[in-house]
């Protein structure tokens, strides 16, 4: 349990650094560390497959692309758009509402009682594959179609003006 609290502390700590870092590239590097602590959380829950997939997909691919983009656009302090006070106030109110919703949602979960899994090996590849392709086949396939449509949409947006060019 003490390991969990330590890793959870690191997750929160690095997440705060993500939003307080002045340099966007440093911010992304903290985000990478945050995702690394998530991988450790998954390992602590014995979800090895999820842990390693989080590691490969989020840390190894998505955040590399984030870093790639930020390195290219080279955000400077001069070119950074200044937000008006109205936007800031609206942001604070929206954030506070979100916090209230999250607190309320976690409170109804009754997390004070530790949840004991019936099958501790649930997160291993074999069990996960069987569950995904039997019990949750339809949601799994629908989410894959959703991802495909997002990908096709992105390609369509990127090649919008091939006829004129």
């Amino acid at each position: 349990m003490s390991t969990f609290y330590f890793i959870a502390f690191l997750s929160v700590f690095f997440s705060i650094l993500v939003i307080t870092a002045k340099n966007p590239v440093h911010s992304i590097l903290y985000l990478i560390l945050t995702f690394f602590t998530f991988t450790v959380h998954y390992i602590l829950m014995n979800a090895q497959f999820l842990a390693v997939v989080n590691f490969i997909v989020y840390m190894g691919a998505i955040l590399v692309l984030f870093l790639y983009t930020l390195m290219l656009i080279n955000l400077n302090k001069e070119s950074e758009p200044r937000k008006s006070n109205l936007v800031k106030i609206v942001g604070v109110i929206a954030g506070a509402c979100f916090l209230a919703v999250i607190v309320a949602a976690t409170k109804t979960l009754g997390t004070s009682q530790p949840v004991v899994l019936n099958n501790p090996g649930l997160g291993l590849v074999k069990n996960l594959g069987k569950i995904l392709f039997n019990e949750y086949l339809l949601p799994f396939e629908i989410s894959s179609v959703l991802l495909l449509s997002a990908m096709v949409g992105a390609v369509l947006l990127a090649t919008k003006d091939t006829k004129t060019a």
């Binding site: 840390m59 190894g60 870093l67 790639y68 390195m71």
Partner: protein, 343 residues
């Protein structure tokens, strides 16, 4: 776990780590000798007999050179880049099975540091993490050439990871497991996976060349366009770490290819050897076979480097996205048909 087991694991880790470093060190020597052979030269021959101490001399030189951190570089990330590169290169060897279990006295020792049941994915994760060392170092240098090298490295690694992953999926359909130990055991004798997955192997080795930034895919450090690429600003041992990480990566990827496709420590007639020499000598022979395969792959890496010129950047992207990925998907479909109807 007993104390003896912990000690054995510790010794095994130290041995594997030392072997990786020594192999990487002498790969630099081998590369220069092989280059000399291909170009009809003599190669390094001053330090020791046949120049055999050249890697030590190079290492000493790297340590003693002046360490320069550019004024406008970000100092922490400038040091973190090469450290991360060498770290990710070294941790990949943890899941590779170097041999069968070996019996020493009464102890049965597995010649693998750890057998996690997502072994291939672990290797894959380490490989995808490796690009951060190059990217952070290239960005922190605050130099346009370094930045361009880092950006090339990132886009190249991301592109070739996709076809590498797809070529592994076809292999996993044949083996049915993600554990490298079980994959090695399945290839007992001569049942090597390359016989069932020849296209997959070719895809994998091309991607391995791209992931280790070796010629013909060494555009991140293309000296005709980018001076030194991502390590333009680096000097002393930090440059040494980048160069060294490349050779360790080459060693680890050779070991992964040998394990996944070329039978690892298995060789025809291994049962006969086991029956005649006992459970201590036979696994050691298996380790020797494994290392022979690894060294052949390392030689192949060098052979290609001194034979084939570098790609142009658009050719690199075309090869990755328009040839390798469709080929890998076709390979998956063909493997599926083969498993369903023939096997």
């Amino acid at each position: 776990m007993e104390v003896a087991d912990i000690v054995i694991k510790f010794v095994l880790i130290v041995i594997i780590f030392a072997i990786s470093l020594v192999v990487a060190m002498y790969s630099t020597y081998a590369e220069r000798k092989i280059a000399a052979f291909f170009q009809d030269r003599i190669g390094p021959n001053r330090a020791g007999p046949w120049g055999i101490l050249q890697p030590l001399a190079d290492g000493g030189k790297m340590f003693l050179k002046e360490e320069i951190i550019p004024t406008n570089a970000s100092p922490f990330l400038f040091i973190a880049g090469p450290s991360l590169a060498i770290l990710t290169a070294c941790i990949g060897s943890a899941v590779i099975p170097w041999g069968q279990t070996i019996t020493i006295g009464t102890h049965v020792v597995p010649l693998q540091v750890t057998d996690i049941n997502v072994g291939i994915l672990y290797i894959f994760g380490v490989v995808s993490l490796g690009v951060y060392g190059v990217m952070i170092g290239g960005w922190a240098s605050n130099n346009k050439y370094s930045l361009l090298g880092a950006i090339r490295a990132a886009s190249q690694n991301i592109s070739y990871e996709i076809s590498m992953g797809l070529s592994i999926i076809a292999l996993l359909m044949v083996t049915g497991t993600l554990s490298l130990k079980e994959i090695a055991e399945q290839q007992h004798g001569w049942h090597w996976n390359v016989l069932y997955q020849p296209v997959g192997f070719i895809l994998f080795i091309v991607c391995a060349f791209a992931e280790t930034n070796r010629t013909p895919f060494d555009l991140p450090e293309c000296e005709t366009e980018l001076v030194g690429g991502y390590h333009t600003e680096y000097s002393s041992m930090k440059l040494g770490f980048y160069l060294f990480a490349e050779y360790i990566n080459m060693f680890i990827s050779s070991a992964v290819m040998a394990t996944l496709y070329w039978g690892g420590y298995n060789y025809p007639g291994m049962d006969w050897v086991l029956a005649h020499t006992g459970p201590t000598i036979a696994p050691l022979l298996g380790v020797a076979v494994m290392f022979t395969k690894v060294f052949l792959f390392i030689f192949f890496f060098m052979w290609v480097r001194w034979t084939i010129p570098r790609f142009r950047y658009d050719q690199l992207m075309d090869l990755g996205w328009k040839i390798l990925i469709p080929l890998a998907i076709a390979n998956i479909i063909a493997t599926g048909i083969w498993i369903t109807f023939i096997k």
